[in-house]
């Protein structure tokens, strides 16, 4: 396996609000030094609370937002600062599926226009008949009917709309799919349909997927590896099973412990984190998690801990190696 995507020390800042009249805007570090690889054919998930920077990582990797630091290599080529034109051939090889199946489809466009939109941009020369054929092919790929081609988004259910979004993302046959919370807005029963579809397409088309989500149960099902994000940084990266059975970062431990388990016979002590995620405008010094960490020591305030590889492929950014963390899953 070779890495399809290599991200190194990625940074993205936004201008925050002005702290007072005539004072300069504060800098909001939405993504603050993130590094990871995705191998070809792999599903890597990015999890973390809202505002932790997951969407910003996805958008920056796609170059929908310009990075303020770090490098992005796609298929071996550095694309970090390519011009719009130079970027075009790469754009079609990576596509995005959005979170909200209701807001992300233009209600005035037909299915043919929506799903065929990327063709209009990247293959403007093809004729109407060919375009129609390609749209029909994409529809059947996601389990919709060719006869749906003239319909409008409001005629579809949430799950079907999400399929439309996936069909649109797949019509150019991309290598990398970035799916930003693609099932979060769906009912559990429909969520399962879409998760199954994504995994099936991955196998059939050899897709590589960056899956962004805050639903740990779904992530546990779909991913090969998981990267946990907190306040713009990765705090743990591990193969899925290892992360669930033997988390190594206190934040991952708390996150797993907070997931309600659908079995009323299970009663467990849960770690209830106090307070909210600190504002990224004013993050804590040192370890970003220390204001909510029950294992924090004075030394945690000194510098942000770097990711260290603790076992093959299992990385954590925490200075304490002397703590035994619990898992809701237990050891396999």
């Amino acid at each position: 396996m070779t890495a399809l995507l290599e991200v190194r020390d990625l940074r993205k800042w936004f201008a925050g609000p002005r702290p007072g009249p005539f004072r300069p805007r504060a800098k909001l570090h939405a993504v603050d030094g993130v590094s990871f690889d995705i191998q070809r054919g792999e599903v890597l998930s990015l999890v973390g609370e809202s505002g932790s920077g997951k969407t910003t990582v996805g958008r920056t990797v796609l170059r929908l937002a310009r990075p303020d630091g770090g490098t992005i290599r796609f298929g071996g080529t550095e694309i970090t600062s390519l011009s719009r034109d130079a970027l075009r051939p790469f754009r079609r090889r990576m596509q995005l599926v959005f979170q909200d199946p209701y807001a992300s489809l233009n209600p005035k466009m037909t299915v043919e226009e929506i799903v065929g939109a990327p063709l209009a941009i990247h293959e403007p020369a093809i004729g109407t008949a060919e375009r129609r054929r390609r749209v029909e092919e994409a529809l059947s790929l996601v389990g919709l009917l060719p006869s749906h081609i003239g319909r409008y988004p409001h005629e579809f259910s949430g799950g079907q709309r999400q399929r439309l979004g996936i069909a649109r993302a797949l019509i150019l046959r991309p290598e990398l799919l970035i799916a930003d919370e693609p099932v979060s807005a769906l009912d559990v029963s429909v969520q399962a349909q879409v998760v199954n579809l994504m995994l099936e397409l991955k196998e059939r088309l050899g897709l590589t997927i960056l899956f962004i989500s805050h639903d740990l149960a779904v992530v546990g099902h779909i991913s090969d590896r998981i990267a946990v994000m907190y306040l713009g940084r990765l705090v743990e990266v591990a193969p899925t099973r290892a992360l669930f059975t033997a988390p190594r970062h206190p934040y991952t431990e708390a996150l797993l412990s907070a997931v309600p388990i659908p079995d009323p016979m299970v009663r467990r002590e849960r770690i209830v984190l106090t307070g909210d995620v600190p504002s990224p405008l004013n993050p804590p010094s040192g370890c970003p998690f220390r204001t909510r960490c029950r294992y924090a020591l004075p030394a945690c305030a000194e510098a942000p801990p770097a990711l260290r590889e603790m076992a093959p492929g299992h990385w954590k950014a925490c200075i304490r190696d002397d703590i035994a963390l619990a898992s809701p899953v237990g050891v396999a």
Binding site: S50, Q160, S189, L199, A254, S257, P262
Partner: protein, 354 residues
Amino acid sequence: MMPEAVTDRGALPAALAEDEILAVRDLSIAFQTPAGRLAAVQDVSFTLRRGETLALVGESGSGKSVTSLGILRLTPRAPFCRITGQVLLRGRDGRVRDLVALPEEAMREVRGRDAAMVFQEPMTSLNPVHRVGEQVAEAIRFHEGLGRRAALTKAAELLELVGIPDPRRRLASYPHELSGGMRQRVMIAMALSCEPQLLIADEPTTALDVTIQAQILDLLRRLQERTRMAVIFITHNLGVVAEIADRVMVMYAGRVVEQAPVRPLFGAPLMPYTRGLLRSVPRLDLAGLGREKLAAIPGTVPDPLDPPPGCSFAPRCDHVEPGRCDAALPGLDLARPEHRVRCVRWAELAGGVA
């Protein structure tokens, strides 16, 4: 007849058992839409005891929110929306009223004093231009007749109770200055300001992160232990249901399709829809152990304006038996003590025939 007389009917001892706070009987709610009459909720019946939590689960559009809005008469007025049936609520004064028949004025007093509601998106129910403190205090003053200062003091106590740090200072914040979790706490504080008998929480944690959800569930549990209020909790997260519910009511296409105490509902569900729902959740303990297909339920909910004949789950059901399932609407059978199911084949299916 005068409204008072209607109200008194609910006071009959037969109407509400000693420890019951709420009894909903044959509640139906229909909207008049440009495309015709939409029966959003049909023949819903249940009771709720003091200190008990009932979870309402079901597919989007199944009628969970409309049921709860209907209970508090927060649905649009007639003729746009019609409510029939009975909603018997025991007030703080011990009297039982039928909310369906109550005049609007009396209903306003019931809301907040006897029953209160927390919504999914707290931003839409908090007024963005007023400070949090004023809004909580206003809710208190309306019902308790306290002065402004006293109400603000009580508001601070309430914010403290729901775990908002530095409550005195927070009273001066505007809603947009609070995080989602804090806004939801403020909503809960407002709902609890008058110590209602009944709290209806419509997806109060759905928009929140798991760690914040855990905080809110914890909070609700502690408050309920203290006040013994009855809670209707709407959610489609089955993990949350398992954690907080005493009893569960599953809705599908506007009707109750299964109703049971939480353990039998998860341990021995009888309705194929409930089973499908439980199976479609990815299991945390199997995370990373290969990717078996999730047991999705194929298809989608029926169009409420054009429901199928007979069982409304039939178009998606693995066990459908044409001629039987689509012949007539299955009744809500009492299958076991306290366990009701709406499926003509439940007995065969429970015996493992399928």
